[in-house]
Amino acid sequence: MNEHYQKDNSSFFDNVYRRHYRAVYAYLLSRVKKVDIAVDLLQDTFVKVWNHIDDLRNILQEHHIYWIINVARNCFNDHHRRLSSRVETEPINYDWDIAFCGDDPYQQLLTKETMNLLDQTIHSLPDKLRIPFILSVMGELSSSEIAGIIGCPPGTVRYRISMARKLIAQSIEAHMDCRHGDILA
């Protein structure tokens, strides 16, 4: 009986994990801005979810994501309290996937530069734009789901996402204008 219950819990947890880990990761990344910390907090979050799996079972399936994000929020707050100061954004140089820009080396260099700029711009957006934006782009959540997480109407979420996109595009355009000016000079 106990073994059957354990097995049942395990498959329930695996399902929940598969369905929501991406969104939870996106949420954590939007708060901490660093992959390794986001991954650690993601793990902490799902350890807590597993430890309280019976509580989760009593919640409607469509509300699972909000419950789990709350757990993630608590993990983030604990992490934040442990730090004496806020984690600053650091420029990172990922091995960006730039297959879409073709074989031209100059174009590739430009795209890598643009990707670094894109990353810095996203991470320096104000919280109210960055969080819904990353939840949408990376977490693949709808505006209603994001609205439930951050506690504002779906229309506001859509506005903030489009505002974030506009600021990002402007920042890249400004950078490209400068680059173009340098070349002409």
């Binding site: 947890f13 350890v47 879409f100 996109r165 990002i168 173009h180």
Partner: protein
């Protein structure tokens, strides 16, 4: 065609950049099973600090006594979670 127009980032271009950006942040291959295994190891320590009756009851005792017994209980929890024999 003006330079300004050439450097315009349209929705498609931005989406392509964002796809590349998202890929760079893709998660390592995490399995739910790993999390469950980790939870089994870490839960007694967490539970005993937060939910145990002793944790609530100890607020009525002097700090020194409470700390001593708490340390003893946490030691027991760590032993249990890692299957360390009691004699150790």
């Amino acid at each position: 065609m003006s330079d300004k127009f050439m450097n315009k980032i349209d929705d498609n271009k931005l989406d392509s950049l964002l796809t590349g950006w998202t890929k760079a942040y893709e998660l390592p291959d995490y399995q739910a099973e790993q999390i469950r295994r980790l939870a089994k190891r870490s839960s007694p320590r967490t539970e005993i600090m937060q939910d145990n009756w002793w944790f609530k009851f100890s607020t009525n005792l002097s700090d020194t006594v409470a700390q001593a017994v708490q340390s003893w209980m946490c030691y027991g929890a760590v032993q249990e979670s890692y299957n360390i024999p009691t004699s150790l």
